[in-house]
């Protein structure tokens, strides 16, 4: 899922300062699961803003809504009446949702309440870790299901490097060395011979180096 962090309240306050009628829109998918921009977090932000409005006499009128997904038009379009009634929209979705809401309603400005950070997973209650970099050319079959692009600090395709230290990365003792994990998993699964397989330099065209990416399936297009 996409992981995100809420922006500091002062940043949010400054963005909203020129406006009166504010619509906060949450997203019921990734940012709900990582507890940044779901229905509950919309409620918390709305409450904080009402308190600020009262204390600082801002006169804000805050309304709230949370839709299933902000990255799909069919969920966004039913918000049209609420968009019309608001001076400004603030989205608690990832960067995709924020942009797509602005695209669906081009006459409205949509502000971000959160910072989108990475593709990750919940490793324990309250902790999320990066697992995928969306690089467009997956090598997980060669690296025992551990991504060297997202999880090796240097993104090495052939490792470990000289900076591995008792299973930790040289950049931080809190960080597991991805290639140490890859080596151990190869060993556990009896595939240690794979560690010697050279992974050649790749083309990064499938990553952002080729510009914004798109996917088209002609058979599904109308």
């Amino acid at each position: 899922m996409i992981i995100a962090d809420r922006k500091p309240i002062d940043d949010i306050k400054n963005m909203l300062s020129p406006y009166k009628k504010i619509l906060l829109v949450g997203c019921g998918t990734c940012v709900s699961v990582c507890m940044t921009g779901g229905e509950k977090e919309v409620g918390i932000l709305a409450s904080e803003l009402r308190i600020i409005s009262e204390l600082e006499k801002k006169g804000w009128e805050i309304s709230e809504d949370t839709i299933q997904r902000q990255c799909d038009r069919e969920y966004i379009e039913p918000l049209s009446e609420k968009f019309e009634a608001a001076d400004i929209i603030m989205s608690l979705a990832c960067g995709v949702g924020i942009q797509y809401m602005a695209e669906v309603f081009p006459r409205h400005m949509v502000l971000p309440a959160i910072n989108t950070t990475f593709y990750g997973t919940t490793v324990s209650e309250g902790e999320w870790q990066e697992r995928c970099a969306g690089c467009g050319d997956c090598v997980l079959h060669l690296t025992m299901g551990i991504c060297p692009v997202a999880r090796c600090s240097k993104g090495l395709y052939n490792g470990p490097c000289g900076g591995t230290d008792k299973g930790k990365c040289e950049i931080s003792s809190d960080l597991d060395c991805a290639w140490y994990m890859i080596y151990n998993r190869m060993k556990d699964l009896g595939k240690l011979d794979m560690i010697g397989t050279f992974i050649p330099p790749r083309s990064w065209k499938a990553s952002l180096n080729g510009g914004p990416r798109k996917r088209v399936r002609e058979d599904l297009k109308k």
Partner: protein, 67 residues
Amino acid sequence: MSSDFEPKIVAFCCKFCAYTAADLAGSMRLEYPSTVRIIQLLCSGRVDVLHLLKAFENGADAAFVAG
């Protein structure tokens, strides 16, 4: 802050312990400030950050959870 300031306090109380204590206080004719407003819950574990924020939003100076 003036000395006669009397804070409005919302008390979230568990039905089975803290609320019962407040009930007993009533039976014993013990007084507590009228600015304390008690909200009975089936369990203080029900309290969520949204409840606390709502209390402040509606003018409470403090909130306490007892259970």
